[in-house]
C-alpha cells in the first residue's frame, strides 16, 4: 500500500488590484479554518508538519498558500518588467482575497516572520473578518533585513538567502529540519526574499499604532523563539505589551522558523493557543 500525507493541493484564481493570480494552496483537516502564512522568500511547504498533525486537523481545517512569486504560485504576467517589492497593501490584499474567495469564516490566521507582521496588520484592519491571529517571530518593526546581497551579480542569491537565514534557527533544532528550511529557501526566485523583506523592514511600521488593534474583537497571540536574532523575543514582548489584551510567549530552544525547524517542540506552544480558539 502506498503511504500518503493527508494533504491535498489545488489552485485558485485570485483577482487583486486588477491583477489575476493563479495561487497554489494546500489543506488538510476539517473544522474552524486555520490559515497559515509562510515567511519571506519561502512557501507553504514550511507548514507540512502542521498539516499532518492529527491533533490539529481533527479540529481545524488547516490551509496554507504560496504567495504569488513563491513556491508553485507563478508571478503574474509582466513580472520581468517590475522590481518585486511587497507592500503592506498588496500583502494584506492578497491574504484577504484568499480568505474571501475560499469563503473562510472567522479564520484564525497564523503567520511567521513577514506573515507574523501581516497578521498584526490584519488584526488592525480586518478584525471583524479575522477570528484571531497568531504571530510567530513578529514585532511592530523589524529593522535591517532589507538588503541587496541576494541580487548582486557576483553572488548566488539562492544560496545566499538560504545560508543567510540558516543561522536564524536554534542549534538544537533537528538538523534534517534545519537543512529542509535551507533547501526550500534555496528555491526562491531571484530578488523575492529581498522583495518580501521590503514589506516588514521598510514599508510597514506598527509602532505607535498598536492600540488600534482591538483584541476584544480579534484576539492576538505572539510567540517568538529565543534564538531568533532578527526578531527577538524581547521585541515581540514589547509589541505585545503595547497591544491591550495581547498574549506573548517566549519559546525556549527555538529560532525563527518554529513550524519548520522543530515542529514537535513548537506544537507544545501552539496547541494551547488553538485550544483556546476552538
Amino acid at each position: 500500500m502506498p503511504e500518503f500525507d493527508p494533504i491535498t493541493g489545488g489552485y485558485v484564481y485570485l483577482d487583486v488590484a486588477g491583477v489575476r493570480n493563479r495561487v497554489y494552496f494546500e489543506e488538510a483537516g476539517s473544522g474552524r479554518p486555520l490559515l497559515c502564512l509562510h515567511t519571506a522568500g519561502s512557501d507553504s511547504r514550511q507548514y507540512r508538519h502542521l498539516l499532518c498533525d492529527p491533533e490539529v486537523t481533527s479540529r481545524w481545517r488547516v490551509l496554507a498558500f504560496d504567495m504569488p512569486y513563491h513556491g508553485r504560485s507563478l508571478p503574474p504576467d509582466g513580472w520581468w518588467k517590475n522590481e518585486y517589492l511587497l507592500t503592506r497593501e498588496a500583502y494584506a490584499g492578497m491574504v484577504m482575497a484568499f480568505t474571501r474567495t475560499m469563503d473562510l469564516r472567522q479564520p484564525v490566521v497564523l503567520g511567521c516572520s513577514m506573515g507574523g507582521a501581516l497578521v498584526l496588520e490584519l488584526a488592525r484592519l480586518y478584525g471583524e473578518e479575522v477570528g484571531a491571529v497568531i504571530g510567530l517571530e513578529a514585532a511592530s518593526k523589524i529593522e535591517g533585513r532589507f538588503l541587496d546581497w541576494s541580487v548582486m551579480p557576483d553572488i548566488d542569491g539562492s544560496v545566499m538567502a538560504a545560508s543567510w537565514t540558516y543561522g536564524l534557527m536554534a542549534p538544537q533544532s533537528p538538523e534534517p529540519y534545519r537543512r529542509e528550511a535551507w533547501w526550500t529557501y534555496s528555491q526562491g526566485g531571484p530578488g523575492i526574499y529581498r522583495g518580501d523583506t521590503y514589506f516588514y523592514s521598510v514599508d510597514w511600521d506598527l509602532r505607535g499604532r498598536e492600540e488600534e488593534i482591538d483584541t476584544g474583537r480579534c484576539p492576538v497571540y505572539l510567540l517568538t523563539g529565543e534564538y531568533d536574532y532578527a526578531c527577538t523575543a524581547e521585541e515581540s514582548a514589547t509589541t505585545a505589551a503595547a497591544i491591550p489584551g495581547a498574549n506573548f510567549t517566549r519559546m525556549e530552544g527555538i529560532g525563527h522558523f518554529p513550524m519548520t525547524e522543530n515542529y514537535p517542540m513548537f506544537r507544545e506552544y501552539l496547541l494551547p493557543v488553538l485550544r483556546e480558539r476552538e
Binding site: 546581497w149 553572488i155 548566488d156 543567510w164 543561522g167 536554534a170 542549534p171 538544537q172
Partner: protein, 139 residues
C-alpha cells in the same frame, strides 16, 4: 597570542587550529561545497590576530599575528569571551551564528570586504559549524 595564557588545545592555541584544519579536511560536506572557496580570513581575538588561508575549501595555512606584509579580505572581530561563547555545540541565543553575533553582540563584528564574506557564506558556515563542534575550551 603571547599576551594570553591559553591551554594547549583551547581556542585560539595553535593545536586548536590544527584540529580545525583536520576536521575541515575530513568533512564530507566541505568536499562537496568547498571546492570554489578561496579566501584569506582573519580572526581578531582581543588584541591578537589569526589569519586563515582557505584554498579549495581547505585550511591550508594558519598565520598567527601576521606582519605588515600580509593582506586578507575579511576580519571577524570579537573578544575572547565572544569567541569562546560562540565555539560550543549549543551556544546561547545570539551566539550561535556569526551573523547573529554581528547583529546582537556589540563587541563582535564582520569587517572588511563583506561582499566576499557573503559570497562564501555557505562554506564559511560549515567551517564554523565544525569549529563549534570542536568547542573552544579544553583543559
Amino acid at each position: 597570542m603571547g599576551r594570553l595564557t591559553i591551554p594547549q588545545h583551547s581556542f585560539p592555541a595553535r593545536e586548536w587550529f590544527e584540529s580545525l584544519r583536520e576536521a575541515v579536511a575530513a568533512d564530507a560536506e566541505m568536499a562537496v561545497i568547498g571546492r570554489w572557496c578561496d579566501l584569506n580570513l582573519a580572526l581578531a581575538i582581543d588584541g591578537g590576530l589569526v589569519l586563515l588561508r582557505i584554498r579549495g575549501g581547505k585550511l591550508v595555512e594558519t598565520v598567527f599575528d601576521p606582519d605588515i606584509g600580509v593582506s586578507w579580505m575579511v576580519t571577524l572581530r570579537g573578544t575572547l569571551d565572544d569567541w569562546r561563547t560562540f565555539l560550543q555545540p549549543l551556544p546561547p541565543p545570539f551566539y550561535s551564528d556569526l551573523l547573529a553575533m554581528n547583529s546582537r553582540v556589540p563587541s563582535f563584528g564582520i569587517e572588511g570586504d563583506r561582499s566576499a564574506f557573503v559570497r562564501h557564506l555557505r562554506p564559511l558556515g560549515r567551517i564554523f559549524a565544525l569549529a563549534q563542534r570542536l568547542g573552544g575550551e579544553h583543559a
